[in-house]
Symmetry: C2
Amino acid sequence: MIFIKVVVIGGAAMGMGVVAKLKRLDPKVEIVVIQKNDYVSLGACGIPYYIGNKFEDSNMLLARKVSDFEKIGVQVLTNSEVKKIDFDNKKVLVQSLHQASEQSYDKLVIASGGTPIIPEVISQDYLNCFTVNSKEDGEKIQKLRSQVKDIVIIGAGLIGLEVAENLVGNNKVTIIEKGPRPLSNLFDQEFSDLVEDELSKNKVKLIKNNEIKEIICKDKTITEVILLDGTKIKCDLLICSIGVRPNTDFLLDTKLKLTPRGAIVINKNCATNLKDVYAGGDCVQTFGRVYKNEIYSPLATVAWKHAIVVAQNLAGIKSSFAGGLNTAIVKVFELELARTGENLNFLLENKINFKEVFIKDKDHTSYVPGQSDIWVKLVKDENKKTLISSQMAGHNKSILRIHSVISLIWNQTVLNEEIDQIDLPYAPPFSRTKDIINIALSKITQT
Amino acid sequence: MIFIKVVVIGGAAMGMGVVAKLKRLDPKVEIVVIQKNDYVSLGACGIPYYIGNKFEDSNMLLARKVSDFEKIGVQVLTNSEVKKIDFDNKKVLVQSLHQASEQSYDKLVIASGGTPIIPEVISQDYLNCFTVNSKEDGEKIQKLRSQVKDIVIIGAGLIGLEVAENLVGNNKVTIIEKGPRPLSNLFDQEFSDLVEDELSKNKVKLIKNNEIKEIICKDKTITEVILLDGTKIKCDLLICSIGVRPNTDFLLDTKLKLTPRGAIVINKNCATNLKDVYAGGDCVQTFGRVYKNEIYSPLATVAWKHAIVVAQNLAGIKSSFAGGLNTAIVKVFELELARTGENLNFLLENKINFKEVFIKDKDHTSYVPGQSDIWVKLVKDENKKTLISSQMAGHNKSILRIHSVISLIWNQTVLNEEIDQIDLPYAPPFSRTKDIINIALSKITQT
């Protein structure tokens, strides 16, 4: 590889993933990272657990330190933002805390991540309203939680539910969900029902099909929220977790191709439409493995894969993203849920000919203590005779058996008459003699 | 299907599995079961937990009752043994408790199971020496355990270890293992070492490379065992768990083809060499999925598959066994181990060109309580570029992720450059951002 200079915009999982991998592949490459915070490698998924006081030092949210990268010769411009990119002349204009600078590049990596979506009703900066996307957010929520009583969370998605679990303790927590049920993009009704039961059991109030119409505040401090239907809810702390959108405003009106929703368009090599410009993670549009459909999938598991693909391509090793299944797993109090593959909306919109089975069983034998319920759904493509997706719910990590289904979907294994004999493990503390996956595969094959 | 009479020899998992499935497929079929005990459908895997006082009623070991089968029109001859089979005239001579009878059949199913192997040194019936293969064994051990102090277990296999865990409490437990390490047929040295540590941590004494040379007894009650090297061990209760062999002595010197070790030879349809005679479960020789090698695999997971294959073939639905991976999972105190695929001996004996990776990692993020170690080994066939086998150890069911590897081995998925991107689930309580399976797949692909 010829000695080149790589500029990386963004110092989170994707950006620093590229840096770490590229430095291993080619220690001589010159790398400059432009990062808006004074830290890098934030594991934002840990924030709900930090605010839940599962650990004390917020620096544990950082997988690696700036100094770790400086030690291997990487220049990290912290507290810095990209003002402009001159793609023609391969230059990035950077505004740091006290100075502006220009960084020329041979290769550019855009890993600017996602920006939390804020509903319009949150019209200004309040002192007690936060998202769950930065270390600072986490620190502020963690400090406030013991001083407040009524907490309102907007959005019953993965993060909203994790935050609810971690904040409920002595607080009264209410979740406001615009849609008809929790986790509606990821799970079907049967699983949303389980989530609702679990929230109710744990004294978290869920209000569905509703939105905040008005925020009542005093001295920039929210005291109450009023919903569309007029319901008034006391609110000492408002947390907004309705998802993220690509952080690409600085790329509007450039030659870089974006989707209408602002995600950077990349090919399977994570290359953009511009020469020598790569992108990945929460700021790009990527694709689903099974139907090759375009998806926006702001997940850590996609980011690290994009990072490897970009780093390898930069190092001259041809590399492609293999497509995602939008796999997710979440713990909501004692209930655990996992899912993989395209959701029901996709199947309906694309008129996929599909069939499904839904089974409730027990995770292991009755005579070993701790037996609990497990629910499994499998969905198959009736034309291709392959699995499309799966959803599971259970306790004590029994849903890790989604691993087997993921492999079958990943490989688009045809559901022949042998598949329900797959040799899954059995011992009394782990499963019943015939694992629920064997049962589900048998049913879906015969369906 | 024409109205036929099926005689089933053996009323455990395989035999009653055939009966249940066949009655569902064809309610009119006439079935007679010949069973040596006064119960059917024993789940022998539960015995260690019964003797460990995890539950009180030994009838919970029975998946179904005799009366359940009688209700659906099945005749169960309990306390009955086969004295002779006249294959030419399709007749079975049966000795029941107080009478002999002759059962003619159109189709015969042999599901006589396994017989515990007893070392030669156990030359007579002792009052305090048992195996772990019948409900009666379990009941006697359970009664004795609180009256004794020194317990000796022969064999550090799956059952021996489960029994040790369940008996240790107030007792002093010693395991005598003939081989150089525990679980040596199933796991490699690294995993046996973990088992040894776990036993030691839990005050179970393991003596390797040794055997009982002499048994000291008084009035048919064992008081002490003497090992090959002269070591004397006090013994109030001796449990023998060195495995099973096919229970086929009643078939010696008949036309039915057996292997030199006494296992019934079947084809992939579970048909024997004799017309209208099927067999499956612990009394047969079956085959490995990947290399089509002949294996003796006395596992419940094989038995239920053989049962379905036999029942379907009897009902006129062509059905084949798909091959086994000898998958097993076991809990040894807090340590959990799982394995699948052919073992090291097989690879060496058959000169398979293989490579392996062995990784130690953490099961989930550092900041969620309960993080613990996980160990994963993957072995690949260097010529075929597919996985052969895997071994894992961990805690809290983290090893259920062996499900993904099993699917890859089952399908003989080629380890291409995409495989390490398989979209496995991540959330802080369940895994690290990059799952250990992704890491292991990446390493084995590059190895």
